[in-house]
Protein backbone atom coordinates (compact mmCIF):
# COMPACT_ATOMS: atom_id res chain seq x y z
CA UNK A 1 0.00 0.00 0.00
CA UNK A 2 1.34 3.36 -0.91
CA UNK A 3 1.47 5.75 1.98
CA UNK A 4 1.86 8.84 -0.20
CA UNK A 5 -1.61 10.30 0.36
CA UNK A 6 -1.29 9.76 4.10
CA UNK A 7 2.05 11.55 4.29
CA UNK A 8 0.87 14.43 2.11
CA UNK A 9 -2.24 14.82 4.24
CA UNK A 10 -0.24 14.82 7.46
CA UNK A 11 2.21 17.33 6.08
CA UNK A 12 -0.59 19.54 4.84
CA UNK A 13 -2.26 19.40 8.26
CA UNK A 14 0.87 20.67 10.00
CA UNK A 15 0.99 23.80 7.85
CA UNK A 16 -2.77 24.36 7.87
CA UNK A 17 -2.55 24.28 11.63
CA UNK A 18 0.16 26.94 11.83
CA UNK A 19 -1.49 29.05 9.15
CA UNK A 20 -4.73 29.13 11.15
CA UNK A 21 -2.96 29.75 14.41
CA UNK A 22 -0.45 32.37 13.39
CA UNK A 23 -1.98 34.14 10.41
CA UNK A 24 -5.73 33.80 10.67
CA UNK A 25 -6.43 34.00 14.38
CA UNK A 26 -4.52 37.23 15.15
CA UNK A 27 -5.95 38.81 11.99
CA UNK A 28 -9.41 37.95 13.25
CA UNK A 29 -8.46 39.29 16.68
CA UNK A 30 -7.47 42.64 15.16
CA UNK A 31 -10.77 43.14 13.30
CA UNK A 32 -12.19 44.76 16.45
CA UNK A 33 -9.61 47.59 16.40
CA UNK A 34 -11.11 51.07 16.22
CA UNK A 35 -9.26 54.39 16.16
CA UNK A 36 -9.58 56.76 19.07
CA UNK A 37 -10.81 60.36 18.84
CA UNK A 38 -8.70 62.88 20.68
CA UNK A 39 -11.18 64.83 22.85
CA UNK A 40 -9.10 67.99 22.74
CA UNK A 41 -9.05 68.62 19.01
CA UNK A 42 -11.28 65.93 17.52
CA UNK A 43 -8.41 64.40 15.58
CA UNK A 44 -8.27 60.66 15.04
CA UNK A 45 -5.52 58.34 16.21
CA UNK A 46 -4.28 56.39 14.46
CA UNK A 47 -5.09 57.97 11.13
CA UNK A 48 -4.25 56.78 7.62
CA UNK A 49 -1.47 58.62 5.83
CA UNK A 50 -2.54 61.08 3.16
CA UNK A 51 -1.04 63.63 0.82
CA UNK A 52 2.71 64.14 0.88
CA UNK A 53 3.18 61.79 3.85
CA UNK A 54 1.49 59.00 1.91
CA UNK A 55 3.74 59.59 -1.08
CA UNK A 56 6.69 59.79 1.29
CA UNK A 57 5.82 56.35 2.59
CA UNK A 58 6.41 55.04 -0.94
CA UNK A 59 9.81 56.74 -1.01
CA UNK A 60 10.67 55.12 2.34
CA UNK A 61 9.78 51.76 0.81
CA UNK A 62 11.59 52.23 -2.50
CA UNK A 63 14.74 53.39 -0.75
CA UNK A 64 14.64 50.41 1.58
CA UNK A 65 14.95 52.41 4.79
CA UNK A 66 13.47 49.44 6.59
CA UNK A 67 16.67 47.47 6.21
CA UNK A 68 18.45 49.63 8.78
CA UNK A 69 15.61 51.19 10.76
CA UNK A 70 12.76 49.85 12.86
CA UNK A 71 9.42 51.44 13.70
CA UNK A 72 8.50 49.84 17.01
CA UNK A 73 9.03 50.78 20.63
CA UNK A 74 9.63 47.88 22.99
CA UNK A 75 7.91 47.74 26.39
CA UNK A 76 9.29 49.49 29.43
CA UNK A 77 11.73 47.23 31.22
CA UNK A 78 12.49 45.22 28.06
CA UNK A 79 15.45 46.69 26.24
CA UNK A 80 16.09 50.41 26.62
CA UNK A 81 13.81 51.94 23.98
CA UNK A 82 11.76 54.18 26.26
CA UNK A 83 14.72 55.21 28.38
CA UNK A 84 16.45 56.19 25.13
CA UNK A 85 13.57 58.55 24.40
CA UNK A 86 12.50 56.62 21.36
CA UNK A 87 8.95 56.82 22.67
CA UNK A 88 6.93 57.63 25.79
CA UNK A 89 5.19 54.24 25.68
CA UNK A 90 5.48 50.90 23.93
CA UNK A 91 3.82 50.55 20.53
CA UNK A 92 0.85 48.20 20.25
CA UNK A 93 -1.03 46.50 17.43
CA UNK A 94 -3.61 49.29 17.16
CA UNK A 95 -0.85 51.80 16.33
CA UNK A 96 -0.40 49.99 13.01
CA UNK A 97 -4.00 49.35 12.06
CA UNK A 98 -3.80 51.55 8.97
CA UNK A 99 -0.25 50.64 7.96
CA UNK A 100 -0.04 48.97 4.57
CA UNK A 101 2.61 47.76 4.12
CA UNK A 102 3.66 47.56 7.73
CA UNK A 103 7.28 48.64 8.16
CA UNK A 104 8.21 47.35 11.61
CA UNK A 105 11.75 46.49 10.55
CA UNK A 106 14.17 43.97 12.04
CA UNK A 107 17.52 45.77 12.17
CA UNK A 108 18.73 48.75 14.16
CA UNK A 109 21.82 49.68 12.22
CA UNK A 110 20.21 53.08 12.66
CA UNK A 111 17.88 54.27 15.44
CA UNK A 112 14.22 53.41 15.75
CA UNK A 113 11.89 55.75 13.84
CA UNK A 114 8.48 55.01 15.39
CA UNK A 115 8.40 58.48 16.92
CA UNK A 116 10.99 60.33 14.86
CA UNK A 117 8.35 62.93 14.00
CA UNK A 118 7.95 63.73 17.68
CA UNK A 119 11.70 63.57 18.35
CA UNK A 120 12.81 65.57 15.30
CA UNK A 121 9.95 67.71 13.99
CA UNK A 122 12.31 70.07 12.14
CA UNK A 123 12.22 69.70 8.35
CA UNK A 124 15.64 71.30 8.10
CA UNK A 125 17.21 68.69 10.34
CA UNK A 126 15.83 65.93 8.12
CA UNK A 127 17.00 67.59 4.91
CA UNK A 128 20.50 68.02 6.29
CA UNK A 129 20.54 64.46 7.57
CA UNK A 130 19.32 62.93 4.32
CA UNK A 131 21.62 65.05 2.16
CA UNK A 132 24.68 64.04 4.15
CA UNK A 133 24.23 62.18 7.42
CA UNK A 134 27.66 63.32 8.59
CA UNK A 135 26.33 66.85 8.99
CA UNK A 136 23.98 65.98 11.82
CA UNK A 137 25.43 62.63 12.95
CA UNK A 138 29.18 62.43 12.63
CA UNK A 139 30.34 58.84 12.37
CA UNK A 140 27.04 57.58 10.99
CA UNK A 141 27.19 54.79 8.38
CA UNK A 142 23.96 55.88 6.73
CA UNK A 143 24.49 56.53 3.03
CA UNK A 144 23.96 59.94 1.46
CA UNK A 145 20.71 60.49 -0.39
CA UNK A 146 21.89 63.33 -2.57
CA UNK A 147 19.72 62.19 -5.45
CA UNK A 148 16.72 63.27 -3.38
CA UNK A 149 17.99 66.81 -3.84
CA UNK A 150 18.79 69.08 -6.76
CA UNK A 151 21.75 71.35 -7.09
CA UNK A 152 20.97 74.70 -8.65
CA UNK A 153 23.32 77.50 -9.53
CA UNK A 154 23.23 80.40 -7.13
CA UNK A 155 21.90 83.76 -8.20
CA UNK A 156 22.40 86.73 -5.92
CA UNK A 157 19.93 85.39 -3.39
CA UNK A 158 19.36 81.89 -2.04
CA UNK A 159 15.98 80.69 -3.36
CA UNK A 160 13.38 79.87 -0.78
CA UNK A 161 13.41 76.22 0.04
CA UNK A 162 17.18 75.97 -0.31
CA UNK A 163 18.83 74.09 2.48
CA UNK A 164 21.30 75.97 4.58
CA UNK A 165 24.30 73.68 4.57
CA UNK A 166 27.08 74.29 7.04
CA UNK A 167 30.07 76.00 5.41
CA UNK A 168 32.18 72.86 5.46
CA UNK A 169 29.66 71.06 3.25
CA UNK A 170 28.58 73.95 1.05
CA UNK A 171 30.04 74.23 -2.42
CA UNK A 172 30.66 77.64 -3.90
CA UNK A 173 28.02 79.05 -6.13
CA UNK A 174 25.38 76.38 -5.73
CA UNK A 175 22.26 75.80 -3.70
CA UNK A 176 20.68 72.57 -2.60
CA UNK A 177 16.93 72.19 -2.96
CA UNK A 178 14.95 69.06 -2.11
CA UNK A 179 13.17 67.28 -4.95
CA UNK A 180 9.52 66.37 -4.61
CA UNK A 181 10.52 62.91 -3.40
CA UNK A 182 12.80 64.43 -0.79
CA UNK A 183 9.99 66.62 0.52
CA UNK A 184 7.58 63.70 0.58
CA UNK A 185 9.97 61.49 2.50
CA UNK A 186 10.50 64.16 5.11
CA UNK A 187 6.75 64.66 5.53
CA UNK A 188 6.41 60.91 6.06
CA UNK A 189 9.15 60.93 8.67
CA UNK A 190 7.54 63.90 10.41
CA UNK A 191 4.28 61.97 10.53
CA UNK A 192 5.89 59.19 12.56
CA UNK A 193 4.38 59.90 15.94
CA UNK A 194 2.99 57.16 18.12
CA UNK A 195 2.96 59.03 21.41
CA UNK A 196 -0.83 59.30 21.71
CA UNK A 197 -1.78 57.50 24.92
CA UNK A 198 -3.66 54.33 24.04
CA UNK A 199 -5.26 52.56 27.01
CA UNK A 200 -3.85 49.12 26.12
CA UNK A 201 -0.31 50.54 26.04
CA UNK A 202 -0.37 51.57 29.69
CA UNK A 203 2.18 49.70 31.77
Amino acid sequence: MNRTPFIIFGVFLTIAFSLSGLVLIPNWQFQEHQPVINPRDGSQYPAPYFGMALQGRDVYVDQGCLYCHTQQVRPKGYGGDIRRNWGNRRTVARDYMYEYPILLGTMRTGPDLANIGARQPSRDWHYLHLYNPQITSAGSIMPRFQYLFRTIKAGELAPSGAIALPPAFQSEGTHIVPTARGEQLVEYLRAQNRTFPLPEAKQ
Binding site: G10, F17, G21, Q29
Partner: protein, 61 residues
Protein backbone atom coordinates in the same frame (compact mmCIF):
# COMPACT_ATOMS: atom_id res chain seq x y z
CA UNK B 1 -8.93 36.74 24.97
CA UNK B 2 -10.45 33.89 26.93
CA UNK B 3 -11.84 32.53 23.67
CA UNK B 4 -8.37 32.59 22.12
CA UNK B 5 -6.82 30.76 25.03
CA UNK B 6 -9.60 28.16 24.98
CA UNK B 7 -9.03 27.71 21.24
CA UNK B 8 -5.32 27.18 21.82
CA UNK B 9 -5.84 24.63 24.57
CA UNK B 10 -8.52 22.81 22.61
CA UNK B 11 -6.36 22.55 19.48
CA UNK B 12 -3.33 21.49 21.49
CA UNK B 13 -5.38 18.76 23.14
CA UNK B 14 -6.82 17.68 19.81
CA UNK B 15 -3.32 17.62 18.34
CA UNK B 16 -1.98 15.51 21.20
CA UNK B 17 -4.84 13.02 20.92
CA UNK B 18 -4.36 12.72 17.15
CA UNK B 19 -0.63 12.21 17.57
CA UNK B 20 -1.06 9.42 20.09
CA UNK B 21 -3.71 7.79 17.88
CA UNK B 22 -1.45 8.01 14.82
CA UNK B 23 1.45 6.46 16.73
CA UNK B 24 -0.73 3.60 18.01
CA UNK B 25 -2.06 3.03 14.48
CA UNK B 26 1.45 2.96 13.07
CA UNK B 27 2.65 0.45 15.65
CA UNK B 28 -0.35 -1.79 15.06
CA UNK B 29 0.27 -1.69 11.32
CA UNK B 30 3.79 -2.90 11.86
CA UNK B 31 5.49 0.25 10.65
CA UNK B 32 8.18 -0.02 13.28
CA UNK B 33 9.15 -3.60 12.59
CA UNK B 34 12.20 -4.23 10.51
CA UNK B 35 13.50 -0.69 10.46
CA UNK B 36 17.05 -1.80 9.79
CA UNK B 37 15.94 -2.65 6.27
CA UNK B 38 15.01 0.97 5.66
CA UNK B 39 18.47 2.14 6.57
CA UNK B 40 20.07 -0.46 4.28
CA UNK B 41 17.76 0.28 1.36
CA UNK B 42 20.11 2.84 -0.22
CA UNK B 43 22.85 0.27 -0.67
CA UNK B 44 23.02 -2.40 -3.36
CA UNK B 45 25.43 -4.95 -4.74
CA UNK B 46 27.24 -2.29 -6.73
CA UNK B 47 27.62 0.15 -3.86
CA UNK B 48 27.49 -2.12 -0.83
CA UNK B 49 27.70 -1.38 2.85
CA UNK B 50 31.30 -0.77 3.82
CA UNK B 51 32.51 0.83 0.60
CA UNK B 52 33.40 4.53 0.23
CA UNK B 53 31.83 5.96 -2.91
CA UNK B 54 33.31 9.44 -3.28
CA UNK B 55 36.90 10.57 -3.76
CA UNK B 56 38.90 13.61 -4.74
CA UNK B 57 39.58 13.64 -8.49
CA UNK B 58 42.75 11.80 -9.40
CA UNK B 59 43.08 10.32 -5.93
CA UNK B 60 44.17 6.72 -5.43
CA UNK B 61 41.18 4.51 -4.65
Amino acid sequence: MFLISMLIWATALLGAVMTVWALAWAVKRGEFRNLRQGAASIFDAGEPIGRQTDFFPGAKR
